[in-house]
Amino acid sequence: MIRFRNATVVLIIAIVASGCAAVEQYSLVPHGSRQVGNVVVPVTGAWNRVPGRMLAYARDDAEVWTREGVLLDRFIVIPGVPEGQPIFAQKAESAALPKFQGGMLPHELAELTESSIVKLFGEGNTTVSTDNLRPHRFGEHRGVMFDFDAITSAGPRYRGIVGTAQVDGKLYLLMYLAVYPYYFDKTLADATAQIEAARLAAG
């Protein structure tokens, strides 16, 4: 009986220890520039990379950074969404996430993002509107930027900015969203600089 109990304790410790080893932690995003897929982002200020396991909506190849915590601010880098796929991970087909289609025009990219953010915060609990759609060059590639405003039923109000471009049939998207006004304003300059200066890696 005692031997059985000891064995159980050892087993539990082993499981916990192996679990701990496997758990991904928050990590500091190094200064300089960070490459996510083939998107190169100049890191401005201090950011923490959020463990993927915490973010059900993030695509496997995407990265999410935060400064104050994911509920307060997020900087999302989504590299190379192929045609026919959504910009966020879709766990169930019934979620009806909108999908990227090749050749989408600027307002369609804004609408794609708008509807995706509705799903991100919860359909029926969020209204999202986009504004200030404008052209922007990401290095040699033409793209667009726009702002958005997300009102959630019980949570805070979020605002965000998005930069996106289509290159070789894939969609590259960078998004900053944060609780408005305090946290949004606090990090807006750094986040905007990161989006505006993002480039595709050569080759």
Binding site: E93, S94, A96, L97, P98, Q101, G103, L105, P106, H107, E108, A110, E111, E114, S115, V118, K119, F121, G122, E123, G124, N125, T127, V128, T130, D131, N132, L133, R134, P135, V144, F146, I151, T152, S153, A154, R157
Partner: protein
């Protein structure tokens, strides 16, 4: 217009022959106007306290529709259906594109904006309102709460469930197991259907609306793109719409006679819907559930909503769906939209983009100019001007 109350009073005793009555269920209200929790009913008092707290936070929700005209309109219908209970009910319109309404035991009624896009008449809207009031008059929430407490022995179940049903606290679609535990029983739903029908008829509304509304729900479900569009939350928390529609149709036809063309308040209803149509449809479009959107647009077209507006959102739906041939369908819809007296400015812009995609730059430029003329403060002006600078 007021012919139905008398018919209804005669009909109610006859309704007692229906299956629910045959089972010995009395569908008289269980509470009187001005009802408050019973002094010795501590759990009911606690429930009211929780609901009052919830209501206090709901009042601050940024997703409430605060337009006075629409709120007054909804409250007027509620009062007409509720009769002497009018003073006990507070109405809140929540900006949520789903089909639902709910009523809490403390008299808080929440109507989702999606209900307005899904009913064809004031009579149908009054049907859903009457159904919810009937739940209230029969203390169904309290009974469900007591059942849930017995089942789960936890004090937080109801709060969460209310949030799910009202759609103002928690993300819709989560914790379905919890939600189903709080769903009214089939017997309670039958009671609410019959008492709701009585309230509807006594208020002078067309009792035939009681089943028409469910027939519309069924039609929308069948139009949803297969396997990728969940049933609406009302369908998930209420019993099978099909059997309910059949039962109600039989009951109403038997007791109130055949359908008539009567629809006295149709113009008023269409005007109310139309005054908020763009916001309601923008929210619907954002769900990306274009099978449902297409169905709703057919409904609105038949109801007489401004053809230009319906055509514009049909164009949006085709463009969002993006299936083979949809670009041309969208173009045709936008052309209809701009041919009307008061075209949606974005119809010009989207025609411009479609022309741009096809390589017709001069046509695109023309539409873009028309767009900026119609909407000088457009949020994407810089983008459009960028294109115009590049064009001949």
């Amino acid at each position: 217009m007021r012919g139905y109350p008398r018919i209804a009073r005669m009909a109610i005793p006859v309704l007692a022959c229906s299956s629910v009555f045959a089972a010995g269920i009395d569908i008289e209200p269980e509470i009187r106007p001005g009802y408050t929790p019973q002094p010795k009913s501590r759990d009911e008092q606690g429930l009211w306290m929780e609901m009052n707290d919830y209501e206090a936070s709901l009042k601050k929700s940024p997703l409430l529709i605060r337009d006075k005209q629409l709120n007054d309109y909804a409250t007027e219908i509620v009062c007409r259906v509720a009769g002497d209970y009018c003073g006990d009910i507070r109405v809140y319109l929540a900006r949520n594109p789903g089909f639902n309404a709910s009523m809490a035991p403390n008299g808080m009624m929440v109507i989702w904006s999606g209900l307005f896009t899904r009913v064809r008449s004031e009579d149908e809207l009054a049907t859903i309102i009457g159904h919810e009031i009937a739940h209230y008059l029969r203390l169904h929430s309290l009974k469900s709460w007591r059942k849930a407490r017995r089942d789960f022995a936890t004090g937080s179940v109801f709060t969460l469930g209310v949030g799910l049903v009202t759609g103002v606290l928690l993300p819709v679609g989560e914790s379905l197991a919890l939600l189903s535990s709080l769903a009214f029983s089939r017997e309670q739903e039958q009671e609410a259907d019959l008492l709701g029908l009585r309230l509807l008829a006594e208020a002078g509304y067309d009792p035939h609306a009681a089943y028409r509304v469910w027939e519309t729900v069924i039609a929308e479900e069948s139009n949803a793109a297969a396997k990728r569009e969940k049933p609406g939350i009302f369908s998930r928390t209420h019993p099978d719409a099909e059997s309910r529609a059949i039962t109600l149709r039989e009951t109403v036809s038997e007791r109130f006679g055949p359908e008539s063309d009567r629809n006295a308040e149709q113009e008023r209803y269409v005007a109310a819907l139309q005054s908020h149509y763009s916001q309601l449809m923008e929210d619907q479009i954002d769900t990306n559930r274009y099978g449902r959107t297409e169905f709703l647009l057919e409904l609105h077209s038949a109801m007489g909503i401004d053809p230009g507006l319906v055509a514009f959102y049909r164009g949006e739906m085709f463009r969002q769906r993006g299936a083979s041939g949809d670009t041309e369908l969208a173009r045709s819809a936008y052309l209809i939209a701009i041919s009307t007296a008061n075209p949606h400015p974005e119809a010009f812009r989207n025609l411009g983009y479609i022309a741009l995609k096809s390589g017709d730059r001069s046509t695109a430029a023309e539409y873009f100019r028309q767009y900026l003329a119609a909407s000088p403060e457009a949020g994407d002006r810089e983008m459009i001007e960028f294109y115009l600078e590049e064009m001949p």
